[in-house]
Amino acid sequence: MGEKHRVARTQRLELMTFALVCWLTVSAPAAEPQVREAELKRVEVIERVAPTVVAVFAKGGAGGGSGVLVSKDGFALTNFHVVSGLGPFMKCGLNDGVLYDAVLVGLDPTGDVALIKLLGREDFPIATLGDSDKLEIGDWTYVMGNPFLLATDFQPTVTYGIVSGTHRYQPPAGTWLEYTDCIQVDTSINPGNSGGPLFSSAGELVGINGRGSFEKRGRVNSGAGYAISINQIKFFHDQLKAGRVVDHATLGATVTTDSDGGVVVNGILESSDVFRRGLRSGDELVSFAGRPVRSVNQFKNILGIYPKDWMLPIVFRHEGERREIHARLRGLHAKTELMPGPRPQPKPRQPMPKKDKDGNPEKTPDLPLPPRPDPHAEVAKQAIPEQWKEWFVTKAGFANYRFNQLEQDRVFAPLKGLGDFASAAGSWRLSGQSATGDKFELTLAVKGIGLEIRDSAFFQQLEDTDPADEPPGSGGFLIAAHQLRLLLQTGSKAFTECHYFGSEPLDGRGESVDVIVTTLGAIETRWFFSRSSGLLLGMDSRLYEDAEACSVRFENWIDFNGRRLPATWMVTSGEKEFATLKVAKAELVGKK
């Protein structure tokens, strides 16, 4: 009986043990692996992206911030307000424990972005750029950087939180540091995090952290941090890489909300491109750059992410009629405002918020996070390191002209392959038929330009005469053709000023093209080069600032006696076609 009992008890015990083991191995892990999985994923992401995070220091350690590497040869993004005042050279630490020399490349004071280049390696680890427009509220994000300059070994500090808002607008301090279409996160951002990366949960770079809302709790995270969207930075990236001090766009018109909630133009500059394209006071904006315009705030938000001088599509309603135009946008600042030198410091918050027209208080600017000064550091003299001195070239209007020279060399290189134009110093005669069947002859002589077409003749003298809109309504096609001749024959030296602008979508709707800007007297020409083939795709030449440009688009570069020239010239001005010229014969005379 007792024996039987014992056996039963042993069996019961075995059963219970088995049940317990089952329960432990099945139920408990059912909850834990997902936690472990998520944790492993975070660890993996952090390990993968941490090597791309940069700790930025002023020479001598008198302040600093964060940054992130975006190209193997060392280009890194950071905030304008981090590098402002650091001088052309700085020190940057990576999580390999090495301190690298770095040089300033480009500045975007309005957007609070700067591009620097770490020197000494061609195989830097780089972050993958994500699509910040795909972020949704609630998505997890990582902030990495050097808050409070804690990381003496340059291992970035990692914080983790969610996206609190997308497409946010944070007003500027003065006219600088305006955060448009930015990302709001509850991920902890503190002084020193400025310029560092915001990564998506997949480890893609989606923003550059730059400011937070601080009110009464001191200068520490208060649950609202803001990052400049990477999609905005992509628009400016080529301009920054060209060593420029870039500017953001403005419409050339002011807008307000009408009684029906529409966004309506209430003031417009008559010298602006939008005015020349037909936008008038009282017109209602429908869409801008392909995004519908719903409110003044939201319009400012869309406008603010675009560079000055880009051409963008605008749809508006004029007296009930829907119109679509492509207009080149003006700059937010005068050129002189963007000159290097001491910059306006952001003002502290206004204690009395102003009211907007709806009676809601206008938002007061939040202070950006400044580099945290180290009180013990001595201010080091800005001695340019001997080893790197060729990496920095000063020129008015540029953050570092050296990088513009490099880009110009790159873009102009394919021109040499077109043939020997330098020896063709005499008259150039191009003839053929226009698309409408009219015979034409274009003569580019040293002292003047002539065009005969449809029994008419037009002439532009090049000496002792002001450049004119010849043929009338073409925007100055004769002068434009002369600019092309100068470029082919002499190159950039033919012009008073020449720089690489960056990239832009051709005509506001086409492929992304490299842009060179030249000036000769008052004549400004934008040259568009294919980024794949290197070929010259077109030019926009204006006789003076705010004049309607003459746009020439080139196709079919063919060989004319050893020199390649475009066989098709499409000439338009103000979106109106002037003529399409098909060149059949080109005679380029050597010495006159």
Binding site: P33, E37, I137, G138, G165, D186, N360
Partner: protein
């Protein structure tokens, strides 16, 4: 036999979308047919189960948070009203508690206006008036004007839930008025760090509300955040975000929400018009306080009395007045009147109101870092 049971349990996991279940089942069958050993089969079962669960869970979680936010945000509104001076924000947050457009929010100075502006998450604008308030619960209920026939997404306060320490939560509010345009409010994440009771008292913790609260580890309570909602990760209503609360000694701030369970009765009563305000035991019996004199009788004006305890700052001085003669200045903070400590504009009005002709009025004011004492005679009143 037992292993089979195990498998059943695994197959019975109701978490997966159908496609996932099918493909997982196929993989499992192939694996199982390849090995005959029971233990191996058992191990595979467990391994599969965990990998599978992990995938499904993380996918499901990402989806729930996005969905929760998409469902909750249209129920939360931005409120614009009085304020905008010193550090008093003129914006706040509220949430719909009925489909007819009743909004629950925090009882604060923002509502000290005849009409307040309400902006919905999609940018629609309405005006609203205060239908009723329960200051002891820091609760006010608004009703949208001109919203007849419009239906709004809302939280039913009777369906508010409670949650324990460690529950993961989301906070929704127009903190810092970041969402000033036609955009939804900000969302922050956190965990319930404690459930506790705060007491209304003056001094270190000056709280207008006393009662149970959820304390949160995330920064939910910022300027303008009060009146927002705290929900679980799956969007169940937990609490209403309270006013900013600071410990004056440690200069630390508390992040908390008032459980909506505590408020739902009052909300329903205010909506139905049957509301009877609970009597505040601390409240003085209303008495007929004499108001014989006003600050203007001495030639100065106080700042607008916008909150319960507006600091007694002098706003302006009339030229050629008694106040101008003794050298009072705007922005002077009145600390004492005839040795009586003055803590607010209201106390100052009372103290001046009690003066009688022939008295001396002695003021101690703080000007910057110094204390200044001035004295002037109380003028004779012509009644």
């Amino acid at each position: 036999m037992k292993i089979e049971n195990c498998k059943l349990k695994i197959d019975g996991q109701p978490l997966a979308p159908n496609g996932l279940l099918v493909s997982a089942a196929v993989v499992r069958r192939r694996l199982l047919s390849a090995c005959s050993h029971r233990l191996v089969r058992f191990a595979i079962c467990i391994l599969q189960c965990s990998i599978f669960n992990a995938c499904v869970h993380s996918f499901a979680q990402a989806q729930t948070t996005r969905n929760t936010i998409a469902v909750v945000q249209p129920k939360v509104v931005k409120i614009f009203g009085a304020g905008g001076i010193k550090s008093l924000a003129a914006h706040g947050t509220g949430f719909f508690v009925s489909k007819e457009g009743h909004i629950a929010t925090i009882w604060s100075h923002v509502l000290d206006a005849d009409l307040v502006g309400v902006v919905l998450s999609d940018g629609r604008r309405f005006s609203a008036r205060v239908l009723g308030a329960e200051p002891q619960l820091a609760l006010a209920v608004l009703k949208l004007n001109g919203a007849e026939g419009v239906e709004f997404p809302f939280f039913n306060p009777d369906e508010a839930v409670s949650a324990g320490t460690g529950t993961r939560v989301l906070g929704f509010s127009n903190m810092f008025n970041v969402a000033a345009g036609d955009e939804p409010v900000s969302v922050v994440h956190g965990v319930i760090a404690a459930k506790t009771i705060i007491e209304a008292r003056r001094g270190v913790f000056d709280s207008p509300y006393s009662g149970p609260v959820f304390v949160v580890d995330g920064v939910t309570n910022n300027s303008g955040a009060a009146g927002g909602v705290l929900t679980t990760r799956d969007g169940m209503l937990l609490g209403m975000i309270g006013l900013e609360l600071r410990n004056a000694k440690s200069n630390t701030w508390m992040n908390y929400a008032i459980p909506v369970k505590e408020l739902s009765n009052s909300i329903q009563q205010i909506i139905s018009g049957k509301f009877e305000r609970k009597k505040d035991p601390n409240e003085d019996e209303p008495s007929l306080k004499p108001r014989r004199y006003k600050p203007l009788d001495f030639g100065f004006l106080m700042v607008p009395d916008v909150v319960e305890r507006t600091p007694a700052f002098i706003d302006s001085i009339q030229s050629d007045s008694a106040a101008a003669k003794v050298g009072l200045k705007s922005d002077d903070l009145v600390l004492f009147i005839n040795d009586e400590l003055i803590q607010s504009c209201r106390m100052l009005q009372d103290a001046i109101g009690r003066l009688e002709s022939g008295d001396q009025l002695r003021l101690v004011v703080r000007r910057g870092n110094e204390l200044v004492t001035v004295e002037m005679p109380v003028p004779r009143k012509k009644d």
